[in-house]
């Protein structure tokens, strides 16, 4: 699946998007954040406060317990500050 990062999440990870293939044990958004965080320090820094991170699956806001199977695109970003 495709993963996108925005604002300081993007800056900390150092890329705007990537393709990932998490193992089947990674079921929810929460699991995915933990799995990404374990990759290296950049991810760990981006996700150091998981409660602050907002997630969208296929362009719709979801909560941390949302199931990721079937998702084409998952995005992680800080609270929005538009308008």
């Amino acid at each position: 699946m495709k993963v996108k990062y925005f604002a300081w999440v993007r800056e900390r990870i150092g890329k705007a998007e990537e393709m990932i293939e998490p193992p089947a044990t990674v079921r929810t958004v929460e699991d995915l954040i933990a799995w990404l965080s374990s990759r290296n320090e950049a991810y760990a820094y981006a996700f150091e406060k998981p409660k602050v991170i907002r997630t969208a699956i296929d362009h719709a806001h979801v909560k941390a317990d949302a199931v990721i199977s079937g998702a084409r695109e998952i995005a992680f970003f800080p609270p929005m500050t538009g308008g």
Binding site: F6, A7, A56, A60, A75, P79, T81, G82, G83
Partner: protein
């Protein structure tokens, strides 16, 4: 008497270019006689965001989701209020103080619907549309933090 046919054209645009409020109002109201009230909100880059002196603001968005998220809230607005037209334009890119960032236009027969729908849309744009502001000042640059008051403003519209 014959009741006039009321339509509610919706325009949503995310663009780098500035907008022309008068032209956008004209597009909404031209050749119509059923609109009694037009409310416009324009959001402008200020020099003093959160008590630091801003040199510039850079607006980033999530292409695709941003348009869809705004559309969802415009659809909710048109279902909650009897609107005759809605235009939302959000700019992205780099802005200096004094420059326009966002425009919300609502048209209705009566003023109350137009005012409430415009405020509803702005509250949701602030808290739910995927845009992020980075500010540059003399002391450096940083991402603008979300405001609790914006969440509270948006929460006003939650149906209980």
């Amino acid at each position: 008497m014959k009741s006039p046919v009321t339509t509610c054209p919706v325009a949503i645009r995310i663009q780098e270019d500035d907008f022309d409020i008068a032209r956008e109002i004209a597009v909404l109201t031209e050749r119509r006689t059923d609109i009694g009230a037009v409310v416009s909100f324009s959001g402008i880059c200020r020099a003093d965001e959160d008590s630091s002196n801003i040199a510039s603001l850079t607006l980033e968005h999530y292409p695709g989701m941003a348009e869809e998220e705004i559309k969802r809230h415009v659809d909710e607005a048109t279902s909650r209020w009897p609107l005759n037209g809605v235009t939302v334009i959000h700019r992205v890119g780099r802005f200096i103080p004094g420059q326009n960032i966002v425009l919300v236009l609502t048209a209705s027969q009566h003023r109350r619907a137009a005012f409430e729908a415009a405020e509803f849309l702005m509250d949701y744009l602030k808290t739910s549309a995927p845009f992020w502001k980075k500010e540059e000042s003399a002391t450096g640059s940083g991402w603008v933090e979300a405001q609790a008051r914006d969440d509270e403003a948006a929460a006003r519209w939650t149906k209980s």
